[in-house]
């Protein structure tokens, strides 16, 4: 079964984060032979998303900090005399200060495991049988044995994090020994198959327990990065232009929130919002509309702001006819810029960008991908694969092989000791060794992820996707961006919310973000507290970590990289994805200046079938639906079957 990997490609891409995946797709699309590898057993690198158990494994791996030092094939014999090597890093060091906390009762979760795997949950199998309406309900038992065998044949794969997916990689059970810190309650479950775990904890429909989170773990898709897509941003444009958009679905962010004077409020931003707002007075509505209208074409009215070009945007706002709450909304929630550092012009630009994105898909400027941001790199990878790109997860690269004379990189040597040659090499920053990066100065991103039991702002509608900017109380410190996701985004289980907090680091993630968490949430889950605290959402589980921000590093800062090796950065701290898209396009054009970047992939309906005529009677059919995702006009079915319809319908 172990297929042999070809040893010659045009482009080798190492890392499956967003920029690498876009480049891989663009290269394959333009006819290059692409090999795309990742040393992890999941897609996305630091752009990945995980099920709950997958995230626990990821946490454990990053807390342990043990080198992976698996024996690698000796490669020295593969290197010729006129060649030298650039070793790659053996261990990803981009994640630090990982701290996780469980605020619920963990003991009840001790024997609970994630549902979904065949062995675990009889209900699952049974419901399947129902769904398929086979004559009788079968028990799962005959299969359990078979599968247990299959599993045990693959012991070498047991380690490592489990992504939301990946074929026959590791098994989903987390093999934790219950000793490290807090997160371990999931436990390695003895094969007490199917014992419906701790029913006691399932009572009280509103009170989600840790056991339930563990059991429903696969309903979570928890992103390592927290971003939204600007509806007129570069990523949306690229998804549409390349037709990669057909692989994903999105939800609108439904609310823009602000945190002011200890309270969370909704920010009206579209015209309709402003008029319908109950919190604004008539005067405020007029002020706000007037100002926002001005921002949309501020370039036409330089006289309005030119005296303030050297001031901050915040100062400029204070000179306009705006109440303090309106100034707060505009500065923090609409422009989302720094109070102390953002100039008037930058602020106006940011406001305009926000306003221009309104209305394309909904009431706010933002979209969020169903199942999480981690889907997006996978979508580009699929496009690459559809155009012939070859994919290998769990595939490490030991070194780059450089020709001494030309100074160009010729090949890689992988962990099997196979030498694979190519013309171009794309390497994600975290794969580079310390030697290569000694002169690089990295920033950090502080991240927190919380699972909570209600929204930070409860309204009639439960299913809300909200973005909230919380300015720092210390002058000059960056604001914290909070994104709250509801279960209909397919990132968390019902009756919970998934809350992401992000800011550029000044200290450890916990030090940076915990003050904001304390303001917004109730951390004393078990104890009864004052009323005020009770109104806040309870945090059921939380993790903090710092992630390296390698964006904006110039190529020349890396030592000794050949010209045909390009470096992609990990996620940046910005809300949008423009940085990754720009980087991908720039690198692609450096390699292939004359090629078009991600032209549309053909519609499925438009491919092939020269000899078959398309049945003419079908043209009429497809016009009927409005919800068609693509602009396709023809069904591709080669006829026959659809001619029947009407009669069927009669009865």
């Amino acid at each position: 079964m172990a297929d042999n990997l070809p040893s010659e490609f045009d482009v080798v891409v190492i890392g499956t984060g967003l920029p690498e995946s876009i480049i891989a797709a663009a290269c394959a699309r333009s006819g290059q032979r692409v090999l795309h590898v990742d040393s992890k057993n999941y897609y996305g690198g630091n752009w990945a998303s995980f099920s709950f158990s997958g995230l626990l494994s990821w946490i454990k791996e990053n807390q342990q900090n043990t080198g992976i030092s698996d024996e690698c094939e000796d490669w020295s014999k593969l290197i010729l005399e006129n060649e030298e090597v650039i070793s790659l890093s053996k261990k990803d060091k981009t994640i630090q200060h990982v701290e996780d906390f469980c605020f619920g009762d963990q003991d009840s979760a001790e024997n609970v495991e994630e549902a979904g795997a065949l062995l675990k949950l009889p209900a699952f199998g049974a419901s399947d049988v129902d769904g398929v309406a086979q004559e009788s309900e079968k028990e799962c038992t005959p299969m359990e044995n078979t599968l247990a065998e299959v599993e045990s044949q693959e012991p070498e794969k047991a380690a490592g994090t489990e992504p939301a997916g990946t074929v026959e990689g590791s098994d989903p059970e987390i093999t934790t020994e219950n000793e490290s810190s807090q997160s371990t309650a999931v436990g390695e479950s003895a094969p007490e198959t199917g014992s419906a775990p701790s029913e006691s904890s399932a009572q009280g429909p509103k009170k989600i327990t840790y056991a339930q989170i563990v059991r429903e773990g696969r309903r979570f898709n928890i992103d390592l990065v927290s971003k939204l897509l600007y509806s007129r941003g570069l990523l949306i444009d690229l998804l549409i232009k390349s037709n990669v958009s057909r692989y994903a679905e999105f939800k609108n962010a439904t609310r823009i929130l602000a945190f002011r004077e200890g309270k969370v409020e909704q920010v009206p931003c579209s015209r309709a919002d402003v008029f319908n707002s109950r919190q604004l007075t008539m005067v405020e509505k007029r002020m706000l509309m007037k100002f926002l209208t001005f921002c949309l074409d501020y370039e036409q009215h330089p006289e309005e702001y030119q005296d303030y070009e050297n001031s901050t945007f915040a100062q400029f706002l204070s000179t306009r006819k705006l109440t303090p709450s309106l100034q707060h909304f505009i500065l923090h929630s609409i422009a989302m810029v720094s109070e102390t550092e953002c100039s008037t012009l930058e602020g106006l630009q940011a406001t305009k960008k926000f306003l221009q994105c309104l209305g394309r898909y909904g009431n706010t400027p933002f979209l969020f991908p169903l199942y999480g941001q981690g889907e997006i790199p996978q979508c580009f990878c699929r496009l690459c694969a559809v155009f012939g790109g070859i994919y290998c997860l769990r595939h490490s690269v030991q070194c780059l092989v450089v020709d001494k004379e030309s100074g160009r990189c010729k090949a890689i040597v992988d962990h099997f000791g196979q030498r694979i040659s190519a013309n171009y090499f794309i390497v994600e920053d975290s794969y580079l060794s310390e030697n290569t990066c000694t002169n690089v100065c990295y920033r950090q991103i502080s991240r927190a992820v919380l699972i909570t039991d209600q929204s930070v702002l409860n309204t009639d509608a439960e299913q809300q996707v909200s973005i909230l900017t919380v300015p720092s109380e210390d002058v000059g410190k960056p604001a914290v961006c909070v994104i709250e996701l509801c279960s209909s985004t397919m990132t968390c289980m019902k009756e919970t919310y998934l809350v992401h907090l992000t800011c550029p680091s000044t200290k450890t993630a916990r030090e940076d973000l915990e003050p904001v968490v304390q303001k917004l949430f109730n951390l004393n889950a078990e104890k009864e507290t004052e009323n005020e605290e009770l109104e806040k959402p309870r945090v059921l589980w939380a993790v903090y970590f710092n992630m390296r921000d390698s964006s904006g590093v110039e190529k020349k800062s890396y030592s000794g990289l050949p010209s045909n090796v390009y470096v992609c950065s990990g996620p940046d701290s910005a809300l949008g994805n423009d940085c990754a898209v720009k980087q991908a396009e720039t690198i692609f054009h450096e390699m292939f200046p004359t090629e078009e970047f991600c032209p549309p992939a053909p519609n499925p309906e438009d491919i092939i079938y020269d000899e078959d005529e398309i049945a003419p009677e079908e043209a009429g059919l497809s016009n009927s639906t409005e919800t068609k995702p693509e602009s396709s006009t023809e069904e591709s079915s080669s006829g026959g079957s659809t001619a029947v319809k009407k009669e069927d319908n009669e009865e």
């Binding site: 699929r382 070859i390 769990r394 053909p602």
Partner: protein
């Protein structure tokens, strides 16, 4: 007017068992001996009537990502059904079928319809997997099972008809996609090709 329902179907199974050939036969009624690994096709579509509905199958191929065990989770998202293919002349492919089912149970949607296709039944003289084994296994997991030949167009239509019948009728107050947005090209770029 019949409603058209789009149903994503994902194909699973070892490289070389005939996944692409099955779709090719179903969608184009065509068989190619040296089918090249599906270049450029994101998915193929075919619409078939089923009761009061039209089922528009969007059939996703693995695009070769299964070859080195690197299928992405997004491949399974939102699938109404999965066709899991093995080769009746290769016992190995029947073994790994079980791994695919396990994978599907872990990462696929909960109520996914599973259909097992024992392909290459035109080669039954070199068969390694008895039909009985497949039937028993399919029953144990509540899956449909048929033996197919993409080459001779045996049971291909039936396979998809079987899937159609297992798809639960549309919940009237759910109208399909619970408000998810698909990014179309309605805003720009008219058609082209």
């Amino acid at each position: 007017m019949m409603a058209i329902r789009e149903l994503k179907v994902c194909l699973l199974g070892d490289t070389g068992v005939g996944k692409s050939s099955i779709v090719c036969r179903f969608v184009q009624d065509h068989f190619d001996h040296n089918i090249s690994p599906t270049i450029g096709a994101s998915f193929m579509t075919k619409t078939v009537p089923c009761g009061n509905e039209l089922h528009k199958f969007l059939i996703w191929d693995t695009a070769g990502q299964e070859r080195f065990h690197s299928l992405a989770p997004m491949y399974y998202r939102g699938s109404a059904a999965a066709v899991i293919v093995y080769d009746i002349t290769k016992q190995d492919s029947f073994h790994t079928l079980k791994k695919w089912v396990k994978e599907l149970k872990e990462h696929g949607p909960e109520n996914i319809v599973m259909a097992i296709a024992g392909n290459k039944c035109d080669l039954s003289d070199i068969r390694e997997v008895p039909m009985k084994d497949a039937k028993e296994y399919a029953e144990s997991i509540g899956a449909i099972v048929v033996e197919t030949s993409a080459k001779n167009a045996v049971n291909i239509e039936e396979l998809f008809q079987g899937i159609s019948r297992q798809i639960p009728p549309l919940d009237p107050h759910e109208n399909g996609n619970n408000g998810a947005i698909k990014l179309g090209k309605q805003t720009s770029q008219t058609g082209g090709n």
